[in-house]
């Protein structure tokens, strides 16, 4: 007979019960492992408040999708092995099941609740501290307090940085003080770029004429990688850099040194502004 033996004795509940039990067991085992083992190694790392927030967010999301993966894995492994057609040339039809309103309702209800949870969780995490993302000129998720402003100016194909509270000092290297609330103002002189400081958990597009604000609260000293994450032309791939978070005293020394280095050119610098319009603008056509 091509019919599996279990099929005849009230097949439906037997199969469903097995899949359900296997799923629950697998989820109960896998989800904590994913949460506690995989979670801590997820990016971007905990060197800033925003980065730590993203690690938590990623951890919750990975743990959230684990039972879904388990369900599909159990279902498919079970179905594809148990419900094989017998090797024969004759075609045998399965039971003509066309619908089951209980299954449908349960599925729709569960996925809806899951989606509402995800959206609510994501929104809460986002509005808590901005998550390090660029929020445009008028941010809604602000970090209140005494923020240290740093401007990131992208151009083809490098980043430069200005410190408005230090007399508009412009440097070619990004150095940030530790344990400080930083307010990044990202803008561009030409094409669209994206300022991505991986370990800080910061990404903000740099658009010409737009002041894109992102918040990040630094913790201890460390270095971090900077990449351009938006295709910006020929040398996009080479538009990377390394930045530093340093203790406050070291930061003050660095500022003093930079001011001396750039003293001779400081008077030619354009006045600090949230956006710049260089002239002339190269146009095709």
């Amino acid at each position: 007979m091509s019919t599996p033996p279990r099929e005849q004795a009230g097949g439906r509940t037997v199969h469903a019960t097995r899949v359900l039990i296997a799923w629950i067991v697998m989820s109960v085992i896998a989800t904590p492992i994913v949460y506690f083992v995989l979670g801590p190694v997820l990016p971007p790392g905990k060197s800033t408040v925003q980065g730590a927030g993203q690690v938590f967010d990623n951890t919750v999301l990975v743990a959230f999708v684990t039972p879904i993966v388990c369900l599909l894995a159990v279902f498919f492994v079970y179905s594809l092995t148990q419900f094989r057609a017998a090797p024969s040339t004759e075609l045998v039809d399965g039971p003509p099941l066309r619908n089951d309103s209980t299954v449908q309702t349960t599925w729709v209800a569960v996925t809806s609740v899951a989606v509402l949870f995800l959206a609510g969780f994501g929104t809460y995490e986002l509005l808590k501290d901005g998550s390090g993302g660029g929020q445009g000129p008028a941010p809604i998720a602000k970090v209140s307090g005494n923020n240290f402003q740093v401007q990131v100016i992208a151009q083809q194909w490098e980043f430069t940085y200005r410190y408005p509270s230090l007399g508009g000092l412009e440097t070619s290297q990004l150095v940030l003080p530790a344990d400080t609330n930083i307010e990044l103002h990202v803008t561009s002189l030409d094409a669209t770029h994206s300022f991505w400081a991986l370990q800080l958990g910061v990404k903000a597009d740099a658009n010409p004429g737009v002041d894109n604000v992102a918040y990040v609260q630094t913790k201890g000293a460390r270095s971090f990688d900077i990449h351009c994450a938006e295709l910006c032309g020929l040398w996009h791939g080479y538009m990377f850099d390394t930045g530093e978070i340093v203790p406050a005293s070291q930061f003050a020394a660095w500022v003093k040194q930079q001011q001396q280095v750039f003293a001779s050119v400081a008077k030619y610098m354009p006045k600090y502004s949230t956006v710049y319009f260089p002239d002339p603008q190269r146009r095709a056509g």
Binding site: R98, G122, S131, D190, W196, V210, H227, Q281, R283
Partner: protein, 629 residues
């Protein structure tokens, strides 16, 4: 009949002269130069024809526009309108009989157009795949330049643009055109000449995109963001014209599909009896018709910015680069569902046949596709979470994006419940359909990380998002596409594809696809941005792994081509009329399907999924042509 055709067959030179591909190419070249010289007449100040390519955008644009018009005239698209103007009676059919020559010109037989699409799109996708191999060659070493940076970006751009442009019609073109009239019991599409037009426009578009290499390529990738696209050199115009032509083509294709399905269903074929693939086609077509015009308008604005110095997208001059991003993604996100929905349709169409069970939850499956289609218009700003656009609406876009997983879940539920307690046969098409669930699950769940604004901060613009959309588009659409090929090509050609080679193709493709793209999630998490020509040294092992897997994935495609050519041109084993035991109507017809499809228009009495519901096929068309072989 065949002997008569031989007698009246004109000599070869006479057959080559006329309205066909050859004439089209000749007139296309003539038109190209006509446009080129016209542009120079307009730009009278600069008459140095060959030195000023970089500065005279207008000459490139007009050359290609006139070239396409010449190409279409050469193919004979003006003949019918002119004949009607001169008083000839209306006619719905052109060049539907004859030999292989039908495939090289305007043909209104939907079956010919379907096969044209399959081969034509296949060629361009093959080129796009070769570009991917070249990209992966560059990424074997972090700092060694195989290609100059500009060439590398052009390869990335052509790969992305070609795949996105061609695969929009990748299933609706071949399988939609071939099958929709058969599945709804009609003898043709509603607009047969427009059907042919969509195909030939797409071919012209593909050639235009390839010729970008003569004009310096383009640096923007498939998204073509402003203001980089305004700054870019002349090769950018090829991108703009390619995508605009694709937009026109897909808009017309979708319109044709909708009108055909709405107006030409055979008696008894109510909306709830339509095969689920037809629903996939309807929902895709709706997205095409509604989103493609936005793309065309956006590209026209970009073209004007480049040629006529308008400033739609120039921030400093009162325009906005966000306008481009908004408009592009308003098209671009429905676009990715244009790529996904036909896959849903094919997978749900194949599962009942090979599980020998009715499609479970038909209405839920339909609601899922329509729901995905509708919601896809409300999610586009999730591409702009960190763009610097006003951020107040991000919570809405988090919500609307994650909402899409509900109707997508319907498709999963219907597919899974169709398998439940079935009698599953592991044929090649079924393997591809089943692998869709694996791939699309990974693609869908990683999408959660991109839809969630906090975690999108890290994943946006990285290899993570690149891996994500390769899982949904290649893992979803292309696997479904191959499932469709193995399933329907015997019907289309009348010859079997080799099952054993097909299985080897499937397993190599499935394994190497996953080995290629899964590590890219990790590369993205570790900080590799998209579209870079170089990357940090610590990512070399991952990238080498991916490159080697990608080459083997490419090799599996060669295996498919070998199987396709060997089976159809050399082995030529005749396919039985219904090799899969399907109850759907196309399998009740002979293979290949005769020119007029049905001797008598069929009458439907049920949907095509009556497996296990009695010996009589529930969807048996009363008037099916049983008498022909």
């Amino acid at each position: 009949m065949s002997s008569m055709a031989v007698e009246v067959r004109p000599p070869l030179w006479r057959r080559l002269v006329g309205f066909n591909l050859l004439t089209g190419i000749v007139l296309g070249i003539v038109g190209w130069y006509a446009g080129w010289y016209l542009a120079h007449a307009i730009h009278a100040a600069s008459l140095d024809y060959f030195a000023d390519i970089d500065y005279n955008e207008l000459s490139i644009v007009l050359a290609y526009i006139f070239g396409v018009i010449g190409f279409l005239i050469g193919l004979g698209f003006l003949n019918y309108p002119l004949a009607r103007l001169r008083g000839y009676p209306p006619s719905l059919r052109e060049k539907e009989t004859g030999g292989i020559g039908r495939y090289f010109g305007l043909c209104t037989d939907h079956k010919v157009v379907g096969i044209q699409y399959l081969i034509g799109i296949g060629l361009f996708i093959f080129i796009g795949g070769l570009n991917a191999m070249l990209i992966r060659t560059e990424l074997l070493r972090p700092d060694h330049q195989v290609w100059p940076a500009g060439t590398y970006l052009t390869l990335v751009g052509i790969h992305g643009t070609m795949m996105m442009g061609m695969m929009t019609s990748g299933i609706l073109g071949p399988f939609g055109n071939y099958l929709i009239p058969l599945l709804i019991g009609a003898r043709r599409m509603a607009f047969p000449r427009i059907e042919a037009l969509t195909f030939w426009m797409l071919m012209a578009a593909g050639v235009i995109l390839e010729t970008t290499i003569f004009f310096g390529g383009f640096p923007t990738g498939w998204t073509g963001y402003a203001p980089l696209n305004i700054q870019a050199n002349a090769g950018m115009d090829c991108y703009i014209l390619f995508f605009a032509l694709v937009g026109i083509s897909m808009c017309l294709l979708g319109l044709n599909m909708i009108v055909t399905i709405v107006t030409m269903r055979a008696p008894g074929l109510t909306w709830t009896r339509l095969p689920i693939f037809v629903w996939g086609v309807i929902s895709t077509s709706a997205l095409m018709v509604l989103s493609a015009p936005v793309l065309i308008a956006t590209l026209l604005m970009a073209l004007l910015d480049r040629t006529a110095q308008t400033n739609f997208f120039v921030n400093a001059q009162g325009g906005s680069s966000f306008l481009y991003e908004n408009l592009f993604w308003f098209f671009g996100h429905p676009e990715v569902y244009i790529l996904a929905l036909p896959g849903f349709g094919i997978v749900l169409e194949l599962l009942p046949v090979f599980a020998r069970k009715p499609l479970w939850g038909y209405r839920l499956a339909v609601a899922g596709m329509l729901g995905v289609g509708l919601l896809s218009f409300f999610v586009w700003q999730h591409h702009l979470f960190v763009s610097g656009i006003n951020g107040d609406v991000r919570p809405f876009y988090i919500f609307s994006t994650e909402l899409i997983s509900i109707p997508t879940g319907f498709t999963f539920l219907c597919g899974m419940m169709t398998l439940w307690r079935g009698r599953i046969r592991y044929t090649v098409p079924m393997l591809f359909a089943l692998s869709w669930f694996f791939n699309f699950l990974i693609g869908g769940l990683t999408g959660v990380f991109l839809s969630d604004a906090p975690s999108d901060v890290t994943t946006h613009g990285s290899f993570f998002s690149m891996a994500h959309f390769h899982y949904t588009i290649m893992g979803g659409l292309v696997f479904a596409f191959f499932g469709g090929i193995y399933y329907w090509v015997p019907k289309m050609t009348g010859f079997q594809l080799n099952e054993r080679l097909g299985k080897i193709h499937f397993w190599t493709m499935f394994i190497f696809f996953n080995l290629t793209f899964f590590p890219l999630f990790i590369a993205g998490f570790l900080g590799q941005p998209r579209r870079v020509v170089t990357y940090p040294h610590n990512l070399q092992f991952l990238n080498d792994w991916v490159s080697v897997s990608a080459f083997l994935l490419g090799a599996s495609m060669l295996l498919f081509i070998y199987n396709f050519v060997k089976s159809l041109l050399f082995d030529r084993v005749p396919a039985p009329a219904n090799p899969w035991g399907s109850k759907s109507i196309e399998w009740q017809l002979p293979s290949p399907v005769p020119v007029h499809n049905f001797d008598r228009i069929p009458v439907f009495s049920g949907d095509p999924y009556g497996y296990g519901e009695g010996p009589a096929p529930a969807a048996a068309p009363a008037g099916a042509p049983a008498g022909r072989d």
